[in-house]
C-alpha cells in the first residue's frame, strides 16, 4: 500500500493550472524523484502535499487516510515533513534552536528543552553541522541552511520526508556526500520524495522517478526508463 498518494490533484493560481490532474503514489521505504523543467509545478505539488496549498479538486492520502484540507502542522504531526527550496529558517536563532524547534513542533510528544536540545545535537551531527550548532542560522552558507532544514524536518520524526532541491549549489564531490545522507535517511526507515535537478544524484539514488511538465505528469518509471524516454529528453534533459 502506498504511504502517500494523490488522486486528480489540481491547483490553479488565478487562471494558470500550476498542477493539473496529477495522480501519484509513493510506497513505504521508497525514494521517489520528482523532476521537470523550471516552473513545471514540482514545488507546488510539494506545497499541496504539505498543505501550504489546498488542491482543488483532488485528494491527498497519507497512510490511507484523506489528509486534504488538514492544516500544515497537523500533517507534520502525522509524520510528513518537508524542506523548502527557498529556505525558511529562523535566521537569528542559533542552528541548534532551529532544529530543537522541530523536535518541539513535531510528533515526539511532550519533550523538555534539554531533551529537544539533545536530539537536535544528534541530528546536527547526522547532517554534519554539529560544529555550527551555536551559530545564528543566517550566517551559514545557503547549502548548509538547507541541511539545517533537513535536520529540522527529521526532528519532527517523519515517516515521509519531502526534500526540495537540497543538492543545488553543491559540487560533484559534495553531491556524493549528500547522496550518502539521503541513503542514510532512508535506511532509518524514512520514505523520501525528492525534487532535484542533479541528474547524477536522482538517477543513482531513486527507485522511481516522476516527471512533470506544465503542471502535468508526462512520464514515470525507473531511472533507466526516464533517462531514455524521448519525451523527457526533449523537454528536460536535452541531448
Amino acid at each position: 500500500m502506498p504511504i502517500l498518494e494523490g488522486q486528480g490533484v489540481t491547483k490553479y493560481f488565478g487562471g494558470l493550472a500550476a498542477v493539473s490532474d496529477i495522480d501519484f503514489h509513493v510506497d513505504q521505504g521508497e525514494i521517489v524523484g520528482l523532476i521537470g523543467p523550471n516552473g513545471a509545478g514540482k514545488t507546488t505539488l510539494f506545497g499541496l502535499i504539505s498543505a501550504a496549498h489546498v488542491p482543488k479538486p483532488g485528494v491527498i492520502k497519507f497512510k490511507g487516510e484523506n489528509i486534504t484540507g488538514l492544516k500544515p502542522h497537523q500533517i507534520c504531526r502525522q509524520g510528513l515533513a518537508r524542506t523548502f527550496q527557498s529556505v525558511k529558517i529562523f535566521p537569528n536563532m542559533p542552528v541548534i534552536s532551529n532544529v530543537a524547534l522541530g523536535v518541539h513542533f513535531g510528533n515526539s510528544g511532550q519533550v523538555t528543552s534539554s531533551q529537544a536540545a539533545e536530539k537536535a545535537a544528534k541530528l546536527l551531527e547526522f547532517v554534519g553541522l554539529l560544529e555550527m550548532a551555536a551559530t545564528p542560522a543566517k550566517d551559514l552558507t545557503l547549502v548548509n541552511q538547507k541541511l539545517v532544514e533537513v535536520a529540522r524536518a527529521l526532528a519532527t520524526n517523519p515517516e515521509v520526508l519531502l526534500l526540495d532541491e537540497i543538492m543545488a549549489g553543491l559540487n560533484s564531490t559534495e553531491i556524493a556526500l549528500a547522496m550518502e545522507l539521503v541513503s542514510k535517511i532512508r535506511s532509518q526507515g524514512i520514505t523520501i520524495f525528492m525534487i532535484e535537478h542533479v541528474m547524477k544524484a536522482i538517477m543513482s539514488v531513486c527507485d522511481r522517478i516522476m516527471v512533470l511538465h506544465h503542471g502535468k505528469k508526462i512520464a514515470e518509471g525507473t531511472p533507466q526508463e526516464i533517462a531514455t524516454s524521448k519525451k523527457v529528453i526533449e523537454v528536460y534533459l536535452g541531448e
Binding site: 493560481f13 523532476i35 521537470g36 523543467p37 523550471n38 516552473g39 513545471a40 514545488t43 527550496q85 527557498s86 550566517d139 552558507t141 545557503l142 547549502v143 548548509n144 532541491e165 543545488a168 549549489g169 553543491l170 559540487n171 560533484s172 564531490t173 559534495e174 553531491i175 556524493a176 535537478h197 541528474m199 523537454v235 528536460y236 534533459l237 536535452g238
Partner: protein, 234 residues
C-alpha cells in the same frame, strides 16, 4: 580590468578571507572554484561592495572601488547576480528588470535593453506582469540575470547562475554566458558545476578555507589531480 590586491574580509571577529589577490582581464571568463563555505560568495560580495574588506584594495579600470557604496560600483559597470537571485518579491517581472536600469548610461538605453533581455529569456516576457514571488526557482534566476544585464555592465559577476536550473536550462545558461562574453562583457563566474565552468572559462582560481590555493588556465586545472579529486568527484 579588475584587480583584487591582498584582501582580508571579516564577519565581526571571524575572518573569512585571507590575503586574496586576483585579476580579471578585459573580455575574459574567469571562474572561481571552491567548496561550500570556502568564501567564494564572500569574495564577490566584497568586490561588489556588499561587504567591506578589512585590508587590501580593489581596483576596477584602475580606479579604487573598495570604499565605494554598491550603487556607485554598479554605475562604474560591475553587475552582480547574487546567489539565489534575490529579486524583489512584491514587484512584477518588468519592475524588477527596471530596477537594474538605474545607472545613467543604462537608463538611456532602457527600451532597447528590455528587448534584449526578453529575447534572451522569452519566459520573462511571458510573465512580465506577474509578481516575482509567484515565479518558479529557475525563473527567479533568469530574472536576476536579466536585472543585472539591464544595468549594461562591463563586468558581470555570476554567483552560481545554474543554481536550481533544470539540465536543459543549465546548458542554455552556459551558452548565454559565452554569448555575453562575445558581446564584450567580462565575466567572473562562481559555479559548482566545476567541469562546465572550467570548460568555458579561460582561467580559474581555487579558493579553499578563505585562501587562494591554486590558479591557472582552465585546461591545466581540469587536469590537476587536486581539482579532479576535490571538485569533480573523480
Amino acid at each position: 580590468m579588475l584587480e583584487v590586491c591582498n584582501i582580508d574580509t571579516r564577519y565581526g571577529k571571524v575572518q573569512a578571507l585571507w590575503d586574496i589577490c586576483l585579476e580579471v582581464n578585459q573580455a575574459e571568463i574567469v571562474a572561481l572554484v571552491g567548496s561550500n563555505g570556502a568564501g567564494k560568495t564572500t569574495l564577490v560580495n566584497t568586490i561588489s561592495g556588499v561587504l567591506r574588506p578589512a585590508a587590501g584594495s580593489i581596483l576596477f579600470q584602475s580606479e579604487r572601488i573598495d570604499s565605494l557604496p554598491s550603487h556607485a560600483i554598479v554605475e562604474l559597470g560591475i553587475s552582480h547576480v547574487p546567489q539565489g537571485g534575490k529579486v524583489f518579491p512584491d514587484m512584477n517581472v518588468r519592475e524588477n528588470l527596471e530596477m537594474g536600469s538605474y545607472p545613467i548610461h543604462a537608463w538611456k538605453q532602457k527600451a532597447e535593453t528590455f528587448e534584449q533581455v526578453y529575447q534572451l529569456f522569452p519566459r520573462l516576457k511571458e510573465r512580465r506582469n506577474q509578481l516575482a514571488r509567484t515565479l518558479s526557482g529557475g525563473e527567479h534566476q533568469m530574472l536576476a540575470i536579466g536585472r543585472a544585464l539591464m544595468s549594461k555592465p562591463k563586468l558581470c559577476i555570476f554567483d552560481e547562475p545554474s543554481y536550481g536550473l533544470a539540465p536543459l536550462l543549465v546548458k542554455e545558461m552556459f551558452r548565454i554566458i559565452q554569448n555575453l562574453r562575445e558581446q564584450g562583457i567580462t565575466i567572473l563566474l562562481i559555479e559548482q558545476n566545476v567541469h562546465r565552468a572550467l570548460e568555458i572559462a579561460d582561467r580559474a582560481y581555487v579558493l579553499e578555507n578563505g585562501r587562494l590555493n591554486l590558479q591557472g588556465n582552465s585546461d591545466e586545472l581540469l587536469q590537476s589531480d587536486h581539482v579532479r579529486k576535490a571538485y569533480l568527484g573523480l
